[in-house]
Amino acid sequence: MEKFSLIFPAFGIDYLGNEDQIINNYSFDITGYFKKAGKFLETNLNDLKKNDNELYSQIDVYIYCCIISDILKKKNICPSFLAYYSMGIYSALYFSGSITFEYGLYLIKTVYETCLDFLKTNEKKFSMALIIGLDYEDVLKLITKNNLEVEIINQNNRYNLILSGLLKDINIIMGKAINEGALKTKLIPTKIPFHSTIIKDASKDIREKISDNDIKDSAVKLISAHDQRTYYKQGEIIEEIIKNISNNINWLKTFKKLLSLKYKIFIETGPGESLTKIAKFIEGDFKIYAINKLDQIINELISV
């Protein structure tokens, strides 16, 4: 049997729109997960489903990732590696048994609120953006030439970059990128410049709020999106949660590392198909399945 890895998406993705229907086919009670989250966050279910709240939209992706994780576990689908994109780390840790569903909610809420509190001391506004069509060096030149407070915080593939920084400068670089030949730029709806040095000091505050007792060794090996290290021990997990907040990540390198480890099957364990789409521009001999192919991948893996 081919080795396979689950890959967990981040927040801010586009949903397919039929996620509930796909999950319902497996007789999973979506409402139960949302009720649990609503209770934990002391908010009602209707508020939680509103997409205009940044924290709740993060929670929403996390919940779907956890539900799909539970479907795969129920089907005895056992990956030998877990990779995560950005804040997908929390759902990867949930799958691995390192944290509970509730502790994942706690971590997401704590990271979000601590970063926001930290940024309140700064009068400037921050955000993130996606640029498609320019390569790393082109964007770096634009940042340097225009003296912008913007960092390239992730490379998804050769022509797909994520930036974090001052909102004002993010808007400037999006305009300049189009003039330079970018096919698309998109503002990511967040007030927090994740994976940038801007929030480095906030990540120190977050460390104090993480209880070591609530995090266990991972049952499955994880790969760091930051430096592509593989790890599973409790101490390494805590260190990675912190690093994952304010350090740059590199999805392209992460994916290539998995390919170099001879992984040829990937399952996007969350809503949407963003990682599946990105992977089309990564060279290699592999198959990748999004949630809309859940039936297919489960049948293929079970029949082997």
């Binding site: 069509g133 390569d135 003039n179 330079e180 030949g181 096919l183 089309k280 521009f281």
Partner: protein, 101 residues
């Protein structure tokens, strides 16, 4: 400058329609030159990028993506016909496409 052979346009058209049919899960018979890629097929920039890569390999083209990006800003691509015509120009002019009037 690349040479457009007889049948190249038909070949490009076939590739474009087949690509969007597969990507957007729409039957080929429902895609024509007048089909709006964004409104009718919910196509996106990643699909466009993928299609450019396909043509780059298929015809051994030499162009920088940002050159095409600059061209698209001046000549927005909306329909299947727009994509076919732009592809023909890329095959003919590659990196010099923006020198066209």
């Amino acid at each position: 400058m690349g040479i457009i052979k007889a049948g190249t346009r038909d070949e490009v058209k076939k590739t474009v329609i087949s690509f969007f049919s597969e990507e957007c899960e729409v039957d080929e018979s429902n895609i024509s030159e007048e089909t709006n890629v964004i409104k009718d097929l919910e196509g996106d920039s990643l699909m466009f990028l993928e299609l450019l890569e396909i043509f780059k390999k298929k015809y051994g083209l030499d162009f920088e993506l940002k050159t095409i990006g600059k061209y698209v800003v001046k000549h927005p691509v909306q329909t299947i016909k727009d994509i076919i015509e732009m592809t023909i120009l890329i095959i003919q002019h590659e990196n010099n496409i923006n020198d066209l009037a």
